[in-house]
Symmetry: C2
Subunit: 488 residues, 2 copies
Amino acid sequence: MERRKVYLAMKSVGEARELFFSKLTHRRTKPQEVDTNEALGRVTAEPVFATLSSPTYHSAAMDGVAVRSELTYGTSERKPKILMVGKDAVLVNTGQPLPEGFDSVIMVEKLHQIDDEHIEIRSPVYPWQNVRKVGEDIIATQLLLPQNHRIRAIDIGALISGGVFSVKVWSLPKVAIIPSGSELVDYRKVRDDKTLEPGKILESNSSVLAAMVRENGGEPVIYELVPDDQSLIRAAIKGALDSGADIVIINAGSSAGSKDYTVHAIEDLGEVVVHGVAMMPGKPTILGLIKGKPVIGNPGYSVSSVLSFDQFVKPLLYILQGAEAAEPHKIRVRPTRDIPSKLGIEEFLRVSIGKVGDRYVATPLARAAGSITTLTRAEGIIRIPELSEGISQSEEVEAELLVDEKDLLNTVVFIGSHDMTIDLIADEIRKEGNAIRISSSNVGSLGGLIALRKRTCHISGSHLLDPDSGQYNLSYIQRYLKGLPVAV
Amino acid sequence: MERRKVYLAMKSVGEARELFFSKLTHRRTKPQEVDTNEALGRVTAEPVFATLSSPTYHSAAMDGVAVRSELTYGTSERKPKILMVGKDAVLVNTGQPLPEGFDSVIMVEKLHQIDDEHIEIRSPVYPWQNVRKVGEDIIATQLLLPQNHRIRAIDIGALISGGVFSVKVWSLPKVAIIPSGSELVDYRKVRDDKTLEPGKILESNSSVLAAMVRENGGEPVIYELVPDDQSLIRAAIKGALDSGADIVIINAGSSAGSKDYTVHAIEDLGEVVVHGVAMMPGKPTILGLIKGKPVIGNPGYSVSSVLSFDQFVKPLLYILQGAEAAEPHKIRVRPTRDIPSKLGIEEFLRVSIGKVGDRYVATPLARAAGSITTLTRAEGIIRIPELSEGISQSEEVEAELLVDEKDLLNTVVFIGSHDMTIDLIADEIRKEGNAIRISSSNVGSLGGLIALRKRTCHISGSHLLDPDSGQYNLSYIQRYLKGLPVAV
């Protein structure tokens, strides 16, 4: 009964996000003026208007002579006109300014030099012909960039050309990352022989979180490890807020107890808005507010830590800069087998994805929330909704990609009876440093043959003895894979 | 005849790239050891293997008591067993190490406490039940990352957990950017009132190029502006190479003559491999090699500069780091009108893209290679192949996106008779700093009505007088847009 109550109290990812974000009082970081040369990737805090026109003068768009167009009117092959060089016609190269009062350029190809001082023309030009006019690219006062625009390389060109040499942008959100847990060890303090005391774990989450903060336009500060002590945790949070952090993340160890210290510390200093989110991994996420600033208890298991960050801290980093995160790249995949999932909780299933024929197939990896390699080895994540009990191999579902789509071609999909050889081959391939991955799913020999028939794998392991012939596999292949091109 | 020869000698983008890249002798930057915490985005210079297992000890995966599993065999509801706390059964919390010799954990829910020293169990456990074993995540010596892998945030977690605290990566390619052209002015040296001497242009390409270098994982150094003087340009190139630059870019001014200085300087010091590429903008690109290192004459017009960089310097930055650039995001678009293009040259057409109904439509922007705003205002680029004379409004073509796909919903597509009001409205919207863009294409009143009928625009301008009724537009709308829901 007790447990059931806890689950009912849990918020879905969407609910938790909405509730939490609606309570933020500091919705933007402070604006800050940066040199235009340093503005790449920053987000404008106000609309940016040009202060100069570009070009700033009328210039020749061709090599030739600058003229007053009205002087050329009425000219034709039959009625050529002679111009005095230096007076009626001034030699100009592409890009050079037109002399005051001149409004057009006659191409060098159309000129007939008579002597050093005279040229003949045989056709007229109209005003501004072959001229790049003032403001052709940018007119002073025109809007160059709207507010809340992430500055790209090309925008820097428009800013400088428009006379904008510094630009007001939202400050980078400062994120304090406080790792806590008495069992954790800072890798920078490990002895050279890398031996750990028994029961100690290398702390890696803070480094991953810092990198994710950077990837999403924030400025991370990793704090010293805090042991499991509520007053020390409280002091660390206060210190982080006092130092001007826009977001504080406490990454509790995964041991029992640590999480409670975080909750109580946030309660002491402010408000716990959400405690527990219906997501897996990532359930023990805590979303709190202290003096209007987000203070987040990020779960200790490495995969939970990453996925919780993705759902809560990442969007926050964009909100604080008035920008939106790019959508993750998604593709449609077919699961290689039925995948049950717990009702009432959204599951973030790590999958290995390969291309078989013209279809992407996804094999689930281990679900262990503490295994970072279930993320690094995954090519994608399938989100199984809260109200689903799982997904079936007969339906296509969406997967968010963790790699470039073209890298999916590097995955060899194995389904069938478990075969040591496959593991050994995979090992050898990877030992050579190759990026080729073998995704293997053990479903028994017949399951493997059926997967081949359904074209959801590249290779299959089979150990089926035919008692009639005393032969392995061949009769089964003939029966189940009739008509398919198969190598044995 | 002369001109024709020049065109025939020009290489296509693909040919130029293949020829140039095949001649590089320095195909990688030097490897460099970086702290794992600083490794985000860097590319591994060798395969990376774990030196530690993770976890490093057997730990409880549940709260409960650690036991020797064999002691529990044969236990059942009918045959419960009593264990001595501290001897047969040791209290453990999740994450805590198992005592030496213990191999499984009984969940706290399954225990029946008899007194402080005795507990009763009613079912057996099997070896390693409820235990997180040594190496469950990572086994020492296993491959963590292959060579030439771009390190993501999650990879940093795997590296630290696997005992890899520093990692060998390819150095960031150093790119020297040398702006040259006597007409150019460094914006950092412009007076506060921002007045330029007549004939002077603000130099912005080097800042754009530096930002693009950064975006693609290189380390830019912008050199002082060099005037149009061949020996000074030669000296700047030599200086850049001597300082250890992996790539040298000379960005010549757009004035006639400047380009020749670059070509001659490269010829003096090394080899010009390609002079002129069949792309527009970007034609005057020069690809050279000096002592095996790439030295590139990047064209002076701002758009040419960006597009040439994209085709030649950008892939080079990835080659030098053993990585591949992500594919640009592409979508299918329908041009709002026929777009002719020059045969024999690949055109990079900047287009404004909007969504009308469920289709993306693309309107070409001005083709001026010197107008950076034709890039910043564009949502995409359509590449019109060398051997095509243009694209037709009746066919869908591919466009490479310059913005997020969701931003395309912010574009209002106007096609029709030119109407000042539209420009004024667009101006007002943008003055407010809104990101909404109006892409307007002037094709006359009837053309506009037809575009509405073909559903290639959202709004249309029309000034058609019906001489029979003396009314504007209405009879035409009835005739051409019969059955369509239209607001007038």
